[in-house]
């Protein structure tokens, strides 16, 4: 059965909660994509080791992104694969970028931490904690001026809650009634630092309320709750009342692929991984009468999709050396002179 057939079958199945099933499907895509990224790394085929997987955080990406509209823009942190995918990214181009290949979204120059597609409103993933936050204030300003009806959403981790730039940005968004939403994916850790080791003020949304934004914290276990909450906040943002949403979840694995999380206990991890938004959604769908078999078919088709993404990435070429100076500046602008050319010029003179 292909995807269209599955969809058709369910339209005819009265008991199917098609919204939940769609959210499930999207979360499964994120999960499987991330698992494949992990495999790419193990096989030595990713560019570098700085791969931050969002396994365990799928409901935040999918819940919020499904409350966004075409034309909305967003920025993400370094753990943003899932968010990007949920906003419609092509997994082939993502995987190629993560592998540092020319066919990737950023021609192999950015990699996992700097992936983006401006066409999808992705104003950029960021390797600087908090670095992408203020851009949504600017995007919100532009949307307001242009009366586009779009909002701009900043996604970041709990670690960024202790960066001053977040407060400067939220303050301006509130002051100017901008169509902006700040989304903190609180996976409990910034590298090895648990949230309560980073702040006493762990009711994160209260900080936004203090600055005049809507502020809500939500448990990320149930993607439908996340989606509904995000919907309220994006609706408000769209009419000039900016918001803040903290989604609490658990980072299932290490900070990056090399990190084995020695700073937390196995029991804690086992407990944390029980808070699995993908399985939770799956169980709920099954309770509503959809069979395991149907869901397995969905999972399998996603698995195939991501396998082709891996194949695409591996069979692509890295960017050629000749592309080194491309895009340092705009098209038709003078390019920097390569060191070697310069040396040749100087030494030829003699």
């Amino acid at each position: 059965m292909n995807m269209t057939e599955i969809k058709l079958k369910h339209i005819h199945d009265a008991r199917t909660n098609s919204r939940l099933e769609d959210l499930y499907r999207q979360m499964r895509r994120v999960r499987t994509f991330e698992e494949r990224v992990g495999e790419l790394f193990v096989r030595g085929q990713s560019a570098g080791s700085m791969l931050h997987l969002s396994i365990g955080e799928e409901s935040a990406a999918v819940g919020v992104c499904s409350a966004m509209k075409e034309g909305d823009s967003f920025t993400t942190h370094h753990r943003g694969h899932g968010i990007f995918l949920s906003r419609g990214a092509n997994p082939n181009l993502m995987m190629a970028e993560i592998a540092g290949k020319e066919t990737g979204y950023c021609k192999g120059k950015g990699g996992s931490m700097h992936i983006a597609d401006m066409g999808l409103g992705h104003l950029g993933a960021n390797a600087i904690v908090g670095g992408g936050i203020p851009a949504v204030v600017g995007a919100g300003l532009a949307a307001k001026r242009g009366k586009t009806g779009a909002i701009s959403v900043a996604f970041f981790g709990d670690g960024a809650m202790q960066q001053g730039i977040l407060y400067e940005s939220m303050n301006m968004a509130a002051l100017w009634d901008l169509p902006v939403l700040f989304v903190c994916i609180n996976n409990q850790y910034g590298m090895g630092t648990r949230i309560d080791q980073a702040t006493k003020a762990t009711n994160l949304h209260e900080r936004a309320i203090a600055l005049g934004l809507n502020g809500i914290s939500v448990d990320g276990l149930n993607v439908e709750t996340v989606q509904e909450t995000a919907q309220k906040l994006t609706d408000d943002a769209r009419v000039g009342k900016p918001g803040f949403l903290a989604v609490s979840c658990y980072r299932f694995f290490g900070h990056a692929r090399m990190d084995k999380s020695p700073y937390r206990s196995e029991e804690e991890e086992t407990e944390g991984r029980k808070r699995d938004p993908v399985l939770f959604a799956r169980d709920n769908i099954i309770k509503e009468g959809v069979s395991d078999e149907v869901l397995d078919i969905i999972d399998q088709s996603i698995s195939d999709e991501m396998d082709s993404a891996i194949d695409f990435a591996i069979s692509s070429s890295p960017p050629p050396l000749s592309s080194m100076f491309r895009d340092v500046y705009g098209p038709n602008e003078p390019e920097p002179e390569p060191v070697q050319t310069r040396i040749n010029r100087i030494l030829a003179r003699e």
Partner: protein
């Protein structure tokens, strides 16, 4: 002699200094329980406890600012900035505060902090985690700047930094952490601010620092097989800058290559080249040539990354052309 890595040597320096001087403490992200993003401070919390290994939130400007206040209040902080790429976030605290406090306040007080950080390419860490930003520091009077290239210097320069009256920015190289050497740390080190002549030769002088020393030494060996002998100067500290050693060697040879990983334009290599050209003009037989990083950001893709910084081959070829 013991075999140590660059990383071990840094940890040993911190350990020894903290034993000797109770006012020293370490402050930064993941320095305590985690042991540092690159493992430099691993285990120190077991010995010195959380009071002297302060894990902080991700708040770079406040980390450096806190270190400044502590340094002005009788403590000796070692603040760790996980990547030198984040230095821009701290630049007000570093450039407007730490660097100027002694001067602005008429010499009443100094800011004896050490800011440990690491930079450089080599790990496909992408455009925001691979840069060499030492020129920002060197361009700011009031800040000292050390960049160790060897295991023994990792130890000694860090120990010496921790005795200085002024802020020292101490930039390690991420691709050197696993470098191993047999070292005898009891041997009297070169004084602070003195460059090391790592190799003597009569055909060309190559001036460098940090990881590029490894590449320059490889190039020098390859050149030697072709009967070209290079003098190699490792600057060790960029502020103070030991220009006397440079001058002495340049006057003997007259041909100079300056090698730096940082982007070419307005980099440390530019300053070195300008000074050599001005001060050793009468002794130069050729233009001072810079081999440096390309004037572009660093790609995550390994080939482009390697291609954007000097390689042993490019250093060798350029030296050869300069000598021939």
């Amino acid at each position: 002699m013991v075999e140590l890595t660059y990383r071990d040597a840094l940890r040993q320096a911190l350990y020894d200094a903290m034993i000797e001087d109770e006012s020293i403490f370490i402050i930064g992200e993941e320095v305590g329980r985690y042991g540092g993003a690159y493992g430099v401070t691993k285990g120190l919390i077991d010995k010195f406890g959380p009071e002297r290994l302060l894990d902080t939130p991700i708040s770079e400007p406040a980390i450096i600012g806190t270190a400044i206040g502590a340094a002005m209040s009788g403590l000796r902080p070692v603040a760790e900035l996980m990547y030198v790429d984040f230095i821009g976030m701290t630049m007000d605290q570093l450039g407007n505060q730490a660097a100027k406090i002694r001067y602005m306040f008429g010499g009443q007080i100094g800011v004896p902090l050490v800011l440990r950080t690491q930079g450089g390419a080599g790990r496909s860490a992408g455009a925001q985690h691979s840069q060499s930003l030492e020129a920002f520091i060197m361009h700011t009077p009031g800040l000292r700047l050390a960049m160790p290239a060897t295991v023994s210097d990792a130890y000694h320069l860090l120990r010496q930094s921790l005795t200085k009256p002024d802020p020292v920015v101490f930039i390690e190289h991420k691709s050197l952490y696993s470098l191993k050497e047999d070292v005898d740390l009891s041997i009297e080190p070169l004084p602070w601010g003195k460059a090391a002549v790592r190799r003597h030769g009569s055909d060309i002088v190559i001036v460098t620092y940090s990881r590029q020393l490894q590449f320059v030494m490889q190039a020098a060996q390859a050149l030697s097989k072709q009967n070209i002998e290079a003098t190699v100067i490792d600057l060790r500290t960029l502020n103070p800058l030991d220009f006397d050693t440079i001058r002495k060697e340049v006057e003997k040879v007259g041909k100079v290559l300056v090698v730096s990983e940082a982007v070419l334009t307005s980099g440390v290599a530019s300053e070195l080249s300008a000074r050599i050209s001005e001060e050793c003009f009468d002794y130069l037989t050729d233009p001072v040539v810079r081999v440096a990083g390309e004037d572009c950001p660093i790609s995550v893709s390994a080939d482009l990354e390697a291609g954007s910084i000097p390689s042993p081959k490019v250093i060798e070829e350029t030296a050869k052309r300069l000598v021939m």
